[in-house]
């Protein structure tokens, strides 16, 4: 695990300004799906409790029902946890010098990229649809001069505020470099 005050390849005078994850609606979707997939069979079992009791009391059918139900409920629990891990490990860290983008794709693919703020050319915030407008979440795109220089902050809270903060930090970083700071790099990606 990493600490926010000890980032990978921490630079001198580097401070974390924003630490972003997807909006809480992403967690709500997982929770609702979990409750639905668990609640429906439990409700059916409760509604047909006579049948369920007969099945469970049967020495041959009972074990089969219990094994099937155990596998089903454990799978739902594991699936919900995997989805939550995917949400939890997708992070965007904006410091006063760079942007770090960490994306978990499934359980076996992980992409960590970083971008110097001075290389940022344009930042765009996008809010689409009723839900995103009501809950003020959406996308932020950070464009650079490089070929693969487009960072996508997916479904983050307050995208416009994030865009403003990044634009402000970019200006500050460019001024810092102009006054004799570090030369800006390009996008670096690490595939794990």
């Amino acid at each position: 695990m990493f600490h926010l005050d000890h980032l990978p390849d921490q630079r001198e005078n580097e401070k974390v300004v924003l630490f972003l994850r997807r909006h809480w609606i992403s967690v709500l979707v997982i929770v609702v799906a979990f409750l639905f997939l668990t609640g429906v069979p439990l409700f059916i079992g409760w509604f047909f409790s006579d049948v369920m009791e007969t099945w469970l009391a049967s020495p041959t059918l009972g074990p089969i029902v219990v094994v099937a139900a155990s596998i089903y409920f454990l799978s739902i629990w594991l699936f919900a946890f995997l989805e939550f891990t995917d949400y939890y490990l997708d992070t965007w860290i904006v410091t006063n010098q760079r942007i770090i983008n960490i994306e978990q794709e499934g359980l076996f693919n992980r992409i960590a990229s970083e971008l110097d703020l001075a290389a940022v050319q344009d930042t765009t915030a996008e809010i689409r649809g009723i839900l995103q407008t009501m809950l003020t979440y959406g996308q932020v795109y950070v464009q650079t001069a490089g070929e693969k220089g487009r960072f996508h902050f997916k479904n983050i809270d307050n995208p416009e505020q994030v865009k403003e903060t990044i634009a402000h930090l970019v200006e500050e970083d460019k001024q810092r470099i102009a006054s004799g700071g570090i030369v800006p790099g390009r996008v670096k990606s690490i595939l794990k």
Partner: protein, 94 residues
């Protein structure tokens, strides 16, 4: 008239299926927890998530084992006998 073929299998085969699934579940869970601990951000939330998942798993596995231990797994299941015995019992309302 449709007749079911004579078909029987030991009940313990379902226990093997359950065990194989549990092996998959444990491996996948451990790998997932490793990912969280290796790449997650240090904080109370991380410990809470891992504890919640482990606690839920213990409850679910404990509950299913409690129910499974109550059955006699040495029995042989005959498909015909199963349907004949439970003809009125599987769906009592029918």
């Amino acid at each position: 008239m449709f007749e079911l073929p004579q078909f029987s299998l030991p009940l313990s085969i379902f226990l093997y299926v359950y065990s194989a699934y549990m092996l998959f579940y444990v491996l996948y869970s451990l790998f997932n927890i490793y990912h969280l601990i290796r790449y997650g951000v240090y904080g109370f939330g991380l410990y809470l998530i891992v504890t919640l998942f482990t606690g839920g798993t213990i409850l679910l596995v404990g509950g299913s084992l409690y129910l499974l231990l109550g059955y006699d797994w040495t029995q042989i299941v005959s498909l015909n006998a199963l349907f004949e015995k439970n003809a009125g019992g599987i769906f009592p309302g029918l």
